[in-house]
């Protein structure tokens, strides 16, 4: 990546992305839901890129730059199979958001840009015994209680200030630390990826700056697209699976939580991009985008990043665990029943920005690979040894947030995901409009009133942010999940409808 590209732009122009990257003529259609960018598209591609989409969604994907980014991902040394773009793919930095890439642990690399700044940004779903009919009359009171209980927005200080020692414990142990502090139930850990503690975490691999940025932020939501939502089960597509997840009754209220590792994870990623830029083993690797900076998995730098990334992931799991606890307390306070009586079990907790060392079949052979999921969700099938016993029969729960006006989806992992996509599926609706385009389009619109008219109560620290996050800014999540379901990389279980939203 040259720092002095020739392309000149006029001063201050607010131009969008240039229309570069593959167009329809470069793509080969594989089947109903898959298109391929062949290695002939660009010199340096080691494997093809595969895009999950539909005929109607493809033009939107092509109008943005994510496919050029997908082609760039295939330059990573040691990449195996295909680089994949999920149907919610959009333009990111380095990797596209909605990208999956697996590299061989023996001769492959790890790229922090393939995980993202927000390490272990993810989603947790908590069920309740409440019905929408019970919640509606007390919705304002409930949202006020949640807004007080869970700090949201930029610059908000958390309810916990971690000492240096406790920060290291959080980084090592993640959600397990939080549960030991009384922030949750022991069984919460059974239903999280990695039981809420990614192995191999070494706080010595994390800079003092990252620890300092995270110290006051445990148990905070953050801003941007993060949220805490109350949703109602709207329609069940797969009754046995929904029953296994405890969400089989339409009208049941669930809590949908989307946040990550806050400043701690952001700083870890930033630090290692710089480390990798200076490491000799990394410098010899030619890449078309500096943000793709990587290091061999076996190099000391690569190993350090893995140990630091695990710390960031653990911070995120502790974060979602603390918020879970305060959410339970808030609802218990409003409804005058204990959170146990309210049936507030964690359904599951998924990471959608992370790298994991996993075994997959590549070209007919089992291989240990490092699966980068950047805006993509693990979707392991029934019977996978990583899954808790209660989900052995249905497969791993997957949560796909849509937007705050329309819907979100619950799905489960499939054998198809193992065969096609390194056990991965989509992670959300994907943006259709940039933040400023959304603000322009919704100038003068009172988003709180507009969402209220859609039956959705809102508490937000920043009203301007609401239009940037408006339903209009996102693709329709129903289109995205129709592709993942149709392609067989996850199976839709239920659709949820937002009732109340807490935003930063």
């Amino acid at each position: 990546m040259s720092a002095s590209r020739r392309k000149k732009r006029s001063r201050g122009r607010g131009a969008g992305p240039p229309a570069s990257g593959p167009d329809a003529s470069h793509l080969e259609r594989l089947d109903t839901y898959r298109w391929q960018i062949p290695t002939s598209y660009k010199t340096g591609m080691r494997v093809p890129g595969v895009i999950y989409s539909s005929e109607t969604m493809l033009p939107t994907v092509l109008s943005d730059k994510p496919l050029e980014q997908l082609a760039n991902v295939t330059f990573l040394p040691g990449i195996v199979g295909h680089a994949l773009a999920m149907p919610d793919v959009h333009w990111g930095y380095g990797f596209p958001v909605g990208g999956v890439a697996a590299t061989d642990v023996r001769d492959g690399v790890i790229s922090p840009g393939g995980i993202g700044f927000d390490i272990n940004c993810g989603v947790r779903l908590i069920r309740t015994n409440l019905t929408e009919a019970e919640l509606r009359p007390r919705l304002d009171e409930t949202l006020d209680a949640l807004f007080r209980a869970v700090p949201a927005g930029m610059g908000t200080k958390g309810r916990i200030r971690l000492t240096r020692k406790n920060m290291d414990r959080v980084l090592r142990r993640g959600a397990a630390w939080a549960v030991d502090q009384g922030l949750g139930w022991p069984e919460d850990l059974e239903v999280a990826e990695e039981r809420g503690t990614l192995a191999g975490a070494d706080p010595n691999a994390v800079s003092a700056r990252a620890k300092e940025r995270g110290a006051g932020q445990l148990g905070t939501l953050g801003s941007g697209n993060h949220f805490l939502e109350l949703q109602a089960v709207d329609e069940v597509f797969d009754a046995p699976a929904a029953a296994a997840l405890g969400i089989e009754v339409p009208g049941t209220i669930v809590v949908f939580l989307h946040t990550g590792s806050r400043g701690c994870g952001h700083q870890i990623c930033q630090d290692y991009l710089q480390t990798f830029a200076q490491a000799p083993a990394s410098r010899s690797i030619h890449l078309p985008d500096r943000q793709l900076a990587c290091a061999p998995l076996r190099s000391p730098e690569g190993q350090d990043y893995l140990a630091a990334m695990a710390c960031g992931a653990n911070f995120a799991w502790a974060n979602r665990q603390a918020i879970t606890h305060w959410t339970r307390e808030a609802l218990a306070g409003v409804f005058g029943r204990s959170s146990r009586a309210l049936g507030m079990d964690v359904v599951y907790d998924v990471a959608h920005n992370i790298a994991k060392i996993e075994e997959h079949i590549v070209d007919g052979q089992p291989r240990r690979v490092c699966v980068h999921r950047k805006g993509a969700t693990r979707a392991f099938p029934p019977g996978h040894p990583e899954l808790p016993s209660k989900y052995q029969e249905v497969g791993q729960p997957v949560f796909i947030p849509g937007d705050m006006g329309r819907a979100s989806y619950v799905a489960v992992g499939t054998a198809g995901a193992m065969e096609q996509s390194f056990g991965s599926t989509c992670h959300g609706a994907g943006r259709a409009l940039s933040r400023s385009a959304a603000r322009r389009q919704l100038r003068g619109v009172n988003m709180v009133e507009r969402l209220g008219a859609m039956g959705v109560g809102v508490r937000a620290r920043n009203a301007r942010l609401l239009s940037e996050e408006a339903p209009d800014a996102y693709k329709n999540v129903a289109d995205v999940t129709a592709v993942t379901h149709g392609a067989g990389i996850s199976r839709n279980v239920a659709r949820l409808r937002p009732v109340g939203v807490i935003k930063g």
Binding site: M1, A3, S4, R5, K8, R9, R11, G12, R13, G14, A15, G16, P17, D64, H90, W91, G92, Y93, G94, V97, G113, G116, F117, D118, G153, M154, G155, R209, E212, R213, G222, S223, G224, N225, G263, H266, Q267, C269, Q270, L273, Q274, A277, Q278, D289, R290, Q291, A293, R431, S434, R435, S436, A437, R461, N462, R464, L465, E468, G504
Partner: protein, 145 residues
């Protein structure tokens, strides 16, 4: 067009699907970086003026001119996130392509007067540009929000 512009120096944001693009320019690299700093703050701070109270010095170094843009803005993000530091103005001196010394006048965040905008997570290297003409320096950077 969001941003601040006069003839010789200024900053503006531009569209990027999920993130925010920031462009800044000036007669020298120091001016362009000072504008980039104000631009970053404009993303994080939606409203409220910053008082030119305390003095703070930043020393930042990086491998090259482009990496210096990322390191500088990351330094400001860190100062804001850990101390609530907000700057009213900057003087930035770039002595060689990878090093700068900046003095800032500013104050710490006060929620009775300052309205926060979008939280910035980090500053990316993606599509990073530093373009030097005979009489102007222009930088472009994408920040993750």
């Amino acid at each position: 067009m969001p941003g601040n512009q006069d003839r010789g120096r200024g900053h503006a944001t531009f569209d990027h699907t999920a993130d925010v693009g920031l462009e800044a320019w000036g007669a020298t690299t120091g001016e362009a970086l000072a504008e980039a700093g104000m631009g970053l703050q404009g993303i994080m701070l939606h409203a409220g003026s910053v008082r030119a109270g305390d003095l703070r010095t930043f020393r930042v170094s990086a491998d090259d001119a482009a990496a210096l843009v990322v390191a500088w803005l990351s330094e400001l993000l860190y100062a804001f996130e850990t101390d609530g530091w907000l700057s009213a103005s900057f003087e930035v001196a770039v002595n060689d392509p990878g090093r700068l010394v900046a003095t800032a006048r500013g104050e710490t965040f006060d929620e009775t007067r300052h309205v926060l905008g979008v939280g910035v997570k980090a500053v990316s290297y993606h599509d990073l540009e530093v373009h030097c003409d005979a009489d102007a320096v222009r930088v472009r950077v994408i920040v993750d929000v």
